[in-house]
């Protein structure tokens, strides 16, 4: 039995199906991220868990208890919003004390807990300020301290960092990892930033059109996606059609063999092959590698690397990411040899 179980949850807004038969089992203490494009239903699921949405069908079970019909105030989950949603009329300390006063803790205990929480997020010196006197990052820390103050076992976060600039976002990511480690609370984190998801999560549930497409660790989703959607959504990727005959593949060059654990079942003969730009190297193939020829159509400088826009003899486009020292003028328009390791090539059966 899981700690937090979402069981076949469906939610419709009139004609729109925001959640379509979503199931997810969260383990205690896990950092799990809901990742997906805009409008894919991430917020809808999070707010259903928080109790603000009433699902049309399905159940939510927390710690063995049905909570599907429970009011938000009875769920004891922490909730952090994108816009922080601090109480503008209360000081930082009073914001953090709010859930404790509601729970009628005694004064001394509240004072101690507020101090402890503000220490945890490094804001002890700003206890008396009003939210509007704080920077975005500081406000977000207050929101975290407030949501964790009453000791919830689950913290729900809806794009908490999306209003911050990039530098601050990276600092706050570290902060979130630390908070997760130090508190041991289960984090359910919504984002549409894949880098954030890869950095933070134990597991990622990838959403598309109201469904969870795949749910797994970041490494496995990145290295061995089972669906074209995930292969495309997580990181940069190239797709070419491949065919197999007598155990040998054609698509990127001809006659190469894929590792058995990657390969298709015996009875199939066509698939989409993927290969990440960083796994393509310039130069002829060595022993056991896959070699192919391609025309360099364009070279795009991107700092530490350059993106080569290639075209295969089959007419399919491909992007390779190579060291930036390469001279654009020298190679543009030329047909060159490239190679890749067979282990870097992925196979997605037709229709997945």
């Amino acid at each position: 039995m899981g700690f937090l179980v979402i069981d076949q949850l469906t939610m419709t807004y009139g004609q729109v199906t925001a959640l379509d038969d979503v199931s997810l089992t969260v383990k205690e203490g896990e950092f799990i991220t809901l990742l997906g494009p805009s409008g894919s239903g991430k917020t809808t699921l999070l707010m259903s868990i928080a109790g603000f949405n009433r699902p049309t069908a399905g159940e939510i079970v927390f710690d063995g208890r049905q909570i599907t019909g429970l009011e938000p105030e009875d769920r004891d989950f922490g909730l952090v919003f994108q816009g922080y949603a601090l109480f503008p009329h209360l000081s930082v300390a009073d914001n953090v004390a709010f859930p404790l006063r509601v729970r009628k803790w005694d004064k001394a205990r509240i004072r101690a807990r507020v101090a402890e929480m503000l220490d945890l997020v490094g804001l002890a010196h700003l206890a008396g300020r009003k939210p509007r006197q704080l920077s975005g990052g500081q406000q977000q820390r207050v929101a975290l301290a407030r949501a964790l103050a009453f000791g919830p076992r689950v913290l729900l976060l809806d794009e908490p960092l999306s209003a911050l600039d990039r530098m601050l976002r990276e600092t706050m990511q570290q902060e979130l990892r630390r908070l997760h480690r130090e508190t041991g609370v289960t984090f359910l984190y919504v984002t549409h930033d894949q880098q954030e998801a890869l950095t933070l999560s134990d597991r990622i549930a990838v959403f598309n059109k109201g469904r969870i497409v795949e749910c797994d660790t970041a490494q496995r989703l990145f290295r061995a996606p089972k669906t074209r959607f995930v292969a495309e959504f997580l990181g940069e990727n190239n797709f070419v059609t491949g065919t197999r005959q007598g155990g040998r593949w054609t698509g990127l060059g001809t006659g190469f063999v894929l590792p058995p654990d990657r390969d298709l079942p015996e009875d199939r003969s066509a698939a989409t092959l993927w290969l990440r730009p960083g796994d393509i190297a310039l130069g002829p193939a060595g022993a056991g590698e896959i070699g192919f020829q391609a025309v360099v159509e364009d070279v795009i400088f991107a700092g530490t690397s350059s993106g080569l826009h290639l075209r295969l003899p089959t007419g399919e486009p491909l992007v390779a990411s190579v060291a930036a020292e390469i001279s654009a003028a020298e190679i543009t328009g030329k047909t060159l040899a490239f190679h890749a390791r067979p282990g870097a090539v992925g196979v997605i059966p037709e229709g997945a």
Binding site: P72, F77, F98
Partner: protein
């Protein structure tokens, strides 16, 4: 600093400004000057405001009725506005329409309508007696009660719109945050909705109070000459007893009191926020 356009944009308000000056400021200045020169002079005119028992009674009645009107209006309007922001978009449109219907009906018509409802042989007393709830008609009109009913009815739509605008501005995620932190409905209302709508309530209270202090038609008709308020008293002094000295002095005093009220209210930071500028 202001850009070129911003400086010239000021010109767009010029026609309105001239109208205000000609039709508003000049007559007021004239009233002011009359209050200083009419009768036995400025000192006599203004000191009689404090010595005359009639004036004291009228001011007392006005304050009493105005404060009561303000209090009742705010409660009623808050309940309506609070209900409106929780409605579905469709019901809200209908509710807004209903709230604005009174604006289309003249204050005179509305006062007469209340008389037909409230007078001793009126609709309400008739119904209550018919049902046997009462044996004697209740005195609902031609007294403070009648005036207050009429004034509340006049002021509620304004207050609803003011409060509705303020309540719509409140970030609903703050309310959700409170609930997620464990606050039950009453706590959410007292600790979140009420403090966050304080500026709106302040503005609405000021608006209703200022309006009420100068009310003429409604108290004149529904008070039946017995509940005399400042505006009607001034009008009687001018058109019937021809006491320009008293009328202009009282007018000026009322203007000063209202001005002070607004100035005082604007000193509070929440009010300043409501009148623009320092948004959270």
């Amino acid at each position: 600093m202001s850009s070129r356009f911003e400086r010239y944009a000021l010109l767009l308000t010029l026609p309105a400004g001239i109208m205000v000056l000609a039709l508003y400021a000049l007559p007021i200045l004239q009233v002011l000057s009359l209050s200083l020169t009419e009768g036995k002079g400025a000192w006599a005119n203004y000191s009689q405001l404090f010595t005359s028992r009639a004036v004291a009674k009228v001011v007392g009645t006005t304050l009493n009725v105005s404060l009561l009107t303000t209090a009742i209006t705010l409660v009623v309007a808050y309940v309506i506005a609070f209900g409106m922001i929780h409605m579905t978009a469709r019901s809200r449109r209908i509710a807004l329409l209903m709230v604005s219907i009174p604006f289309w009906i003249s204050v005179l018509v509305r006062a007469f309508a209340w008389i037909t409802i409230l007078r001793s042989q009126g609709v309400l007393n008739g119904a209550l007696m018919g049902l046997g709830v009462i044996s004697q008609p209740l005195e609902l009109v031609y007294n403070r009660l009648g005036v207050t009913i009429g004034m509340v009815h006049y002021m509620v739509p304004f207050a609803v719109l003011l409060l509705y605008a303020n309540l719509t501005d409140i970030d609903r995620r703050i309310v959700q945050a409170a609930r997620s932190l464990g606050a039950r409905p009453l706590t959410v209302f007292l600790k979140v909705w009420l403090p966050l709508s304080a500026p709106g309530l302040g503005v609405a209270a000021l608006f209703v109070l200022v309006f009420s202090l100068g009310f003429l038609v409604t108290p004149a008709l529904l008070g039946g000459g017995k509940t005399l308020m400042i505006a009607e008293y001034i009008s009687v002094q001018i058109s019937t007893t021809r006491r320009w000295d008293l009328a202009t002095a009282l007018s000026t005093a009322l203007l000063i009191v209202v001005g002070l009220l607004i100035a005082l209210a604007l000193r509070s930071p929440t009010m300043r926020a409501a009148f623009g500028g320092g948004r959270r």
